[in-house]
Symmetry: C2
Subunit: 392 residues, 2 copies
């Protein structure tokens, strides 16, 4: 096990009707003028926005609004939000919606006090010292952005999709009402499920030894996500299943399941280029990339994948040939993605084989730009092979 | 699943040599004059105390010391600590040692700004508004006190052992170096293992439905504790096993494994009277009480115990008679406690059958004082029966 620091200070209010506590929580965390930042209408149609405003009014908290966050949230709206917050002297950002609204809210929160172009922060990732506090009300179980220290924004100029991390952008509170996810279309529900599984898998793709506890907890959460996924796909208003999935989405990404291990995140980098180029949902892109990544890396990590197959999919180990078990576990993930309606090939995703050279060259690699990831260090050639495996 | 609020804001610095970061962390959390509060000598003998002082000195932080915390920490030392902190204008309490040192540190932290006898707080459990911040350096994987909102103190007058809870007494940071547990005697290691298992079981003894995620994570952590327990009992200086156990002790009690469920805690109340009367280690008392509690409650909760047997002990379910499976799971816990050197009967613990009426009448029951717990509401007669089952 590696040394680690862990701190997940977000205050979570979880359960039915918790959005009625918005005003109380903004007040508790020092907000007096709020930017309510949200997406494209469903938050309005469902009546959620009105309930949130009512709660703020009851606590005598002022607010301004900025809607229009798109999936793969855009830099242009972030610029608009920063300007609005400065004009209106906003001191608290409330992201209402899915991970996109929250990520966009976080970007505004770092941008307002930053003397320069916020995109520099996403490009250069310096340490920052000041943000406006962010709270969230999430309507989607997926990104874990409600408890995470990260934000991913797409810059329209050049269609770059970059992430930024800082302990300062962890939401101070997050309101999580599973009922708000009842009306999600099945496709978006499934995208969320893949996204949260990927957050666990990226931490599980690790060569660090003696992390039994983190491993077992990771496997437990994956099992629970898979079990509950089958329930909600058939019964979208099943409170228990929606609740388990919503909390799992948070646990999957607040690093409870990552501590003490070297983590990978190559699949995320490889997927980011797909959603940037084709504007597909992150979860859908991951459903295509993850099986390809697993197939490519399996031969050198047979026992790791055999453990995954055994513990998550209850598959007996083939002790004569554990590679068989490892392969079956990967096939199970792929089949699961198909069963919940996700694409698993380039064609199903709407991606094109001829774009592979372009995708490959754009994948962002830190450091010297040559090798991606830790679990299985990937060259650009390896990345190309993984995209090729996505073609099916 | 029930609505819940969850917040575990403690900053954890985990791993080798992390005690060298004491000064840095005290400073980060605003301390300028520290009370170092510890137990009975092992902290001095091991050199830990000197390393901590050196780290504080390097950060130019003043300190005073108060040693002498005993297992089942006493009110008398808390009074002494409160007085010392007031005299010396201490603004940060650092508990160094096991759960006892930390619990005693927390009691001092609430007592210093409280205008009255701190024991009133433990007797009456009011909301408090002010404490001195607490940090910890733990040398024992057990109580989870390093991340918890609770403290248990024994009042020598009348030998009462009461707990107090407040979000304000959660440590602001905890330093966790698994190497500091290498020299623990096997008995204390085993007591810690039982204690952390009990913190999970008390949350698992629940009738709340649709908490699959919390269940599975609980089962995963119990499995990991049991696996790693066998390793450390044979190889006390196995870093990985010590590390997994130490982190498990925290996860077991920061409520990650309790959210969304009605919890029980009857076994803890029943045990508290044993450690108060006989001054035995809490973990040893729990090793006696837990199997008795499980046997007593099993007939009405067959499927819950069958799940425990199946998922924690990998026992196949007997679908014709799940009670058999349930019983085997309980027997497995009892056998496990014996295997790691714990007592499982009154006699082995040094408790006396003739004290059962006294023990029974002293068990503290909230509310009307008639019914203990939620999982299986216990009358005083039931509590007597559970003590009787402890006789063996």
């Amino acid at each position: 096990m590696l040394n680690f620091d862990f701190c997940s200070p977000t205050y979570f209010a979880f359960g039915k009707d918790t959005e009625e506590r918005t005003g109380e929580l903004v007040k508790r965390f020092g907000g007096s003028k709020v930017l309510i930042h949200y997406g494209e209408g469903s938050v309005e149609r469902s009546g959620l926005l009105n309930r949130v405003k009512k709660s703020l009014q009851e606590s005598e908290i002022e607010f301004v609004e900025l809607g229009g966050v798109q999936p793969n949230p855009r830099a242009s709206l972030v610029y608009e939000g920063i300007e609005l917050c400065r004009e209106e002297q906003v001191d608290f950002i409330l992201g209402v919606g899915g991970g996109s609204a929250v990520d966009s809210a976080k970007a505004i929160a770092v941008g307002v006090p930053y003397d320069g172009d916020f995109w520099d922060l996403y490009e250069q990732r310096p340490e920052i010292e000041e943000v406006i506090p962010v709270g969230t009300i999430i309507t989607l179980a997926a990104t874990g952005s409600e408890g995470s220290n990260s934000s991913v924004i797409t810059q329209e100029k050049g269609w770059k999709k970059y992430g930024f991390r800082s302990e300062l952008i962890r939401p101070v509170f997050s309101i999580m009402n599973p009922e708000l996810t009842y009306t999600l279309p099945p496709y978006q529900t499934a995208c969320g499920i893949v996204d949260m599984l990927s957050h666990i898998l990226e931490r599980y793709f690790s060569n660090t030894k003696e992390v039994d506890l983190t491993d077992r907890m990771s496997e437990a959460v994956m099992k629970s996500i898979i079990d509950n996924a089958f329930i909600v796909m058939n019964d979208p208003e099943n409170y228990g299943a929606r609740a388990n999935l919503m909390w799992a989405g948070n646990i999957a990404h607040n690093d409870t399941l990552g501590v003490g291990r070297e983590q990978d995140w190559s699949s995320h980098q490889i997927e980011h280029e797909l959603s940037a180029l084709y504007d597909v949902a992150h979860g859908a892109g991951l459903a295509v990339v993850l099986p390809a990544f697993m197939k490519f890396t399996m031969p050198k990590h047979v026992m790791r994948y055999a453990q995954l197959a055994n513990r998550v999919w209850n598959m007996d180990i083939n002790f004569e040939d554990p590679k068989q078990t490892a392969s079956k576990g990967i096939a199970a993930f792929e089949m699961f993605f198909k069963m919940i309606g996700m694409p698993t090939t380039f064609e199903e995703l709407g991606a094109k084989e001829e774009d592979i050279p372009q995708l490959t060259s754009k994948v962002r690699i830190k450091g010297d730009g040559e090798i991606l990831g830790f679990f299985e260090p990937l060259t650009r050639d390896d990345i190309r092979s993984i995209y090729q495996l996505c073609v099916g």
